[in-house]
Symmetry: C2
Subunit: 304 residues, 2 copies
């Protein structure tokens, strides 16, 4: 959230990533195809997870369930319920009870806050508490952050070809925290909001600086994605999907670089173009191979 | 919700549909493309709409704003806040104040209900109140309802080629209420949950029977989509996107026919196959033309 002068540590490609072989994350289902023949496919799992902050029940989420600790902490951060200086004294996850409890040194009470909720558009959060928008107006994003078009082309290719639950089972969202041309942290979940929250939780728990990062999402660039990315202090947001008007408006207001429809050799920048360094001719980028297209993948779904 | 013995009236194709030319629903935005050139595109609008049921504030939604009355009524129905026998005495929409008020003869109070919320996966509702699931267990879906594969092929083609905000601006979800091979009511919104709710509202206000209908969505077949479709009393749910495990489980439990990955000549049925009549060879169906593919459309986004 703060702009530090210390150089950010260099993180490797896929430092943290999906584990499509984790049997708990998808299951085999038998069905019937268009010719009346039996087909077997894998579908992603969804399980309930109820989040407590100290003694208070906050929310029940539906998640693939791979990283409950990161999801819990990220949710609280993105809802402004954890402060940057808060000290977490414990995170307890009970898989059978489907509960995760985050304990903090500071006594917390968000009864009033939770009464005021906004149902947001798109696939994102679903619910944003009223005071989140107040904080949005105070955000300052690193003006000297950059994204080279060569990084952008490299990132989209890496992310599309990395083994993932998307490629195994489809019908899932992915979010990736990137540094230059490296896809550092890749999270997936049924709801995009969960994937974002897991990245926020990972960053918070590992003190990962935000100002030099690029956030990639498979989903649309809605108001909510813009709000979350800016709240996390990340100055650049990239998606293979499109834009909504309010997403664009908020990105321009907060000075976030907003790049959409990023696929193969193409993209569109609708905000913060000054951070984009055109160092590679689009013609020299690789076209997106149909087998790596999200829609044309083995799984065949649009990632909607 | 009830299975009536009276024959359902025959409704025409696109009896109600999107108006992509409505200037309030999308706006022109200037950006920069991969070659550093200026591009102009249209992006869908999002506006806030706060819903009151009688004197009680229920929720603030982000919506494209085209059918606030249908959205309001549909939301209340799908949250189990309007009963089948409720009498609506007025629906007042104030565009400037961004408020819609639904008034009923019955006095309502959902203070307690609203305290218990579940954050759902996917792009759907985002919030389901606890007691919705209780009602789910009592649902009976018409066992004699059918979908012919010839209807399915006709429907997917009609829906993909119908002028829509998706084709104009992208980044939007569509839901369509169908009867046999006719796409009767087509609604779009930034959030799929809104598109579903608008259809529910339209059905309720026009006494449209559900048992002979087919519900088509561009989005994934998550638990929430299955719950909503079943709650609306519609026995067949179709999507061009994929499945989640809990969505499949709930569909099987409630006896809903669940058809996914329906594109061109292909589809997969994961529940309720007995309602599918294979009357047309998949080879004889038209392949999906790339220009009509959701992802390959002018707008280029995955509809995520």
């Amino acid at each position: 959230m703060t702009l530090s002068n210390a150089p950010a540590p260099r993180l490797p490609d896929f430092h943290i990533r999906p584990d499509p072989d984790d049997a708990r994350l998808s299951e085999a289902v038998a069905g019937t195809d268009q010719d009346g023949r039996r087909v077997d496919l894998r579908v992603v799992s969804e399980r309930a997870l109820t989040l407590f902050l100290n003694a208070q029940e906050i929310v029940t989420m539906m998640t693939i369930g791979d990283r409950p600790d990161l999801l819990a902490v990220g949710y609280l951060i993105n809802q402004n319920m954890l402060r940057p200086d808060d000290i977490i004294t414990g995170i307890d996850h009970d898989e059978d009870l489907e509960i995760v409890v985050v304990r903090t040194e500071r006594a917390t009470d968000y009864e009033e806050k939770m009464k005021k909720k906004v149902r947001t558009s798109g696939c994102a959060q679903g619910t944003v508490f009223g005071d989140v928008m107040d904080r949005f107006d105070e955000i300052e994003l690193a003006p000297d952050a950059r994204i080279h078009t060569s990084w952008l082309y490299a990132l989209t290719k890496k992310i599309n070809t990395q083994p993932s639950l998307y490629l195994t089972a489809g019908a899932i969202h992915g979010c990736v925290l990137c540094q230059e041309d490296r896809a550092v942290a890749y999270m997936e979940d049924v709801g995009r909001h969960n994937a974002v929250d897991k990245i926020a939780g990972w960053m918070w728990l590992n003190n990962v600086p935000a100002a030099d990062k690029i956030f990639y999402t498979t989903g649309r660039l809605t108001s909510e994605m813009v709000i979350k990315t800016a709240m996390m202090g990340i100055p650049i947001l990239v998606s293979r999907s499109g834009f909504t008007a309010w997403g664009v408006e908020l990105a321009r207001k907060v000075g976030l670089t907003l790049i959409g429809r990023a696929r193969g050799q193409r993209f569109v920048v609708l905000s913060g173009t000054e951070r984009v360094v055109f160092d590679m001719d689009a013609k020299d980028a690789e076209p997106e191979e149909s087998k790596h297209r999200r829609k044309g993948s083995k799984a065949m779904e649009s990632n909607a």
